[in-house]
Symmetry: C2
Subunit: 457 residues, 2 copies
Amino acid sequence: MTIEKKGSVRVAILGLGTVGGGVYKTIQNNRETIRKRTGYEVEVTAILVRDLEKERLLDIDLALLTQNPEDVLNGELDVLIEVMGGLEPANTVISQALRSGRHVITANKELMAKHGAELLAIAEEHGAHLLFEASVAGGIPVIRMLQGYLTANRVKGISGILNGTCNYILTEMARTGREYAEILEDAKALGYAEADPTSDVEGYDAAYKLAILTNLAYDAKIDLRQIEREGITALQAADLELADRHGYAIKLIGSARESQGGLQLSVRPRLLPKSHPLANINDVFNAVTIQADVVGELTFSGRGAGEFPTASAVIEDLTALLTGESAIRRPVWKRIVNEGVYEPNTQPGAWYVSYCCRPEAAQQIEVEWLSAMLTQRAFVASREAVQLADGAVRQSWLVGGVGEQEVRVSLQWLYKTGAEATTAVLLPVEGEIEPGVEWRQPVSSLVEETDSVRHVL
Amino acid sequence: MTIEKKGSVRVAILGLGTVGGGVYKTIQNNRETIRKRTGYEVEVTAILVRDLEKERLLDIDLALLTQNPEDVLNGELDVLIEVMGGLEPANTVISQALRSGRHVITANKELMAKHGAELLAIAEEHGAHLLFEASVAGGIPVIRMLQGYLTANRVKGISGILNGTCNYILTEMARTGREYAEILEDAKALGYAEADPTSDVEGYDAAYKLAILTNLAYDAKIDLRQIEREGITALQAADLELADRHGYAIKLIGSARESQGGLQLSVRPRLLPKSHPLANINDVFNAVTIQADVVGELTFSGRGAGEFPTASAVIEDLTALLTGESAIRRPVWKRIVNEGVYEPNTQPGAWYVSYCCRPEAAQQIEVEWLSAMLTQRAFVASREAVQLADGAVRQSWLVGGVGEQEVRVSLQWLYKTGAEATTAVLLPVEGEIEPGVEWRQPVSSLVEETDSVRHVL
Ligand SMILES: NC(=O)c1ccc[n+]([C@@H]2O[C@H](COP(=O)([O-])OP(=O)(O)OC[C@H]3O[C@@H](n4cnc5c(N)ncnc54)[C@H](OP(=O)(O)O)[C@@H]3O)[C@@H](O)[C@H]2O)c1
Ligand SMILES: NC(=O)c1ccc[n+]([C@@H]2O[C@H](COP(=O)([O-])OP(=O)(O)OC[C@H]3O[C@@H](n4cnc5c(N)ncnc54)[C@H](OP(=O)(O)O)[C@@H]3O)[C@@H](O)[C@H]2O)c1
């Protein structure tokens, strides 16, 4: 690498917030380990912040701080660590650093997802390295796994719990039965959610990370519009309870799968069987499962965010520069796949459907909805219902053998019943499902039976 | 690396069994991917087998096979892949190959655990690399994680499910309630256990793997006698059921922890809280959790054995040689820690105790045992019992605040009662436990109360 002074590496840090503070402290605390194992002394030469007046709860030489990116770029610099976030000025400063042959390490998933391909091209052109382990799943070395380890293996699919905020909220909803909005407030108080949680809870953050992983695994150049995206805000606490009774956990999953049409990319809540490797990843933990052709399924889990886990990823990128590991990773992010926006998957699959209604309307809605499914050759694997505090009922179904679009159309019937069916939820179910014991008959006979019961009532 | 013909690597394979067959097939199937990503064409030049006459269910040029290791060593050879197992002739052939500057890849945990340090020293002296990813946890890249990824991080502890045979047996005992011996027969029929299962079920195999991981994580040179070792053969199906009721899973865990006395190493069945990252690793899957000072807890899971997962690890070691990744890993296996055999841990901890008795003797034994515990300042966190098919009762306790030795001594009391207390089980419990709701009183009062109840009866 082009580090000028042998035995010493000069590092500038953009940002001294959660991650920047962790990076600075880790450089101090683990200086000796880094020196012993890489041969390099790490020297922090400048730190960019927005506000020079802000009190820093950190033992730091204030003379290192600056508000001016030019000071950083014109100073003594081998490696630039960008942990300030946002598209600008991060993009400009990183580009300038790479153009002057400096290596860059970033934790910025939004930037990498939106401009990673250009930045990597600039790096390549100028003989610099751009590393971004911290941008996905915090301290879990999934980027190194994809770019450095799985070489003879071809990736066949990726599934990940990529957002700790959402995972915390879903875990707590399942554990306590409390609703989304309440838990979100707790998460804010605990520092697990930001004041404006949109990027997390609507799945944007997970989509950035999925795009990065997909780019690496398939040497692809993903446009974010190719990722189907749905957040967790529409889920009811009752859905977590119902999923549990069906034998599943609900997790927000970023997923990339190969299909005839190319790559199928989505971020959405899914039902995972409790034996699924991601079903037991709880709280703020992240995890990624990679399917590869030789090794099969590998799962990596750990803390996906936070001061030290994220700093760990940044600092291990630094050691990768110092040992030369980064120089031997294979180039990525080249090949454009599936142009344009995502195409809805039309394959038959397994689905969880739930809706809310007054108990007295339940029978009616059930019949209407099953009638609608009837023509679709769907089968019912199981049914569960819960009574809500206000007396209403939340009814849920696992159905199979039918495409998502057909189920969605069938839900239109719910809206015609006049019940509170407007909060209907439709989620994909992972794994095989089978017609349930009591539903081995075709839906048609079921409807008739139910129908006759209704007449009797 | 010292591969003579640029663009082509000549590989010889020792062994063409489960793993050797997988290696050969993977080289054929993924030839193009390897070539594209490393620039090398892989050429198999010789395969060592024991029996030339054996029928090979494999599309292979029989002219490649030989029974003579000299043919392999004197032939065209850049990389030797040892997947035949056993200490000899593997040790001799590998040493010879390394001495002639050839790189070696091995899946042989016994050999690495017993002679790894010498072999690595020979490799270093002759500028050759010795890689052994496949020797631990099959396709899970835990060796690369320890030797190549965690550089700024210092490892603080390792816990692993390292033996798929034991994990399968424990999973099935828990799932079906059937006893060890029966499930072992199933495992043999399924190819998950060998005809002589001793190395697996008595924990030797896991101990080899733990030694290898510890050597890497701590740059240590572990003597196998430093590892406390206990297998799974004494566990009763009822223990799995009882652990479940206490809120735990029982897993055979290889563990390395730092303690005042140095490293504390063990392979033994342990109770893990159901939220523990290893508690939900089932069937033949393996997993390793690494605690490190910056990143915190990282867990890797996947298939720990089998034709292709193991072959994947071997072939990714080959690609590591070809890309140069193996050249930048840090040297390991140098520092001698804790000489001699393992020292029992005397720290107070949490323990699971179970024993079997006739229902009519239960009260008596309970009182005797609790009296014995009484003087030890122990507390009881929970108690569960099951009735067995033959009418006997298996009684179980979680106790805390007391050292293992004290609990073991207290168990002597059981043997005096004349009940079937000889099948007593004592296992460590992971995580914090607290005096149970109904046991907040000191054990003494508990004993009296129980005692008085007995008088009433
Ligand atoms: N937090 C996590 O756990 C985590 C995990 C993975 C990745 N990341 C990524 O890491 C990055 C940083 O996250 P964070 O949580 O550390 O953010 P943060 O706590 O808000 O800190 C941001 C830091 O950057 C500085 N900064 C922001 N905009 C600036 C500008 N225009 N000019 C100069 N300095 C500026 C701020 O300066 P002041 O101190 O003066 O305000 C602050 O020190 C983001 O890209 C985030 O997505 C974070
Ligand atoms: N099986 C797994 O899932 C797994 C996983 C991880 C690591 N490993 C390790 O990988 C190694 C191989 O395991 P495996 O399951 O593939 O064994 P295996 O199926 O028994 O195959 C052993 C192969 O080596 C040959 N061989 C054995 N001793 C020999 C000798 N003295 N001279 C010449 N050839 C000899 C045998 O030749 P013939 O074919 O002529 O009998 C056979 O082809 C072992 O070290 C094992 O611990 C295995």
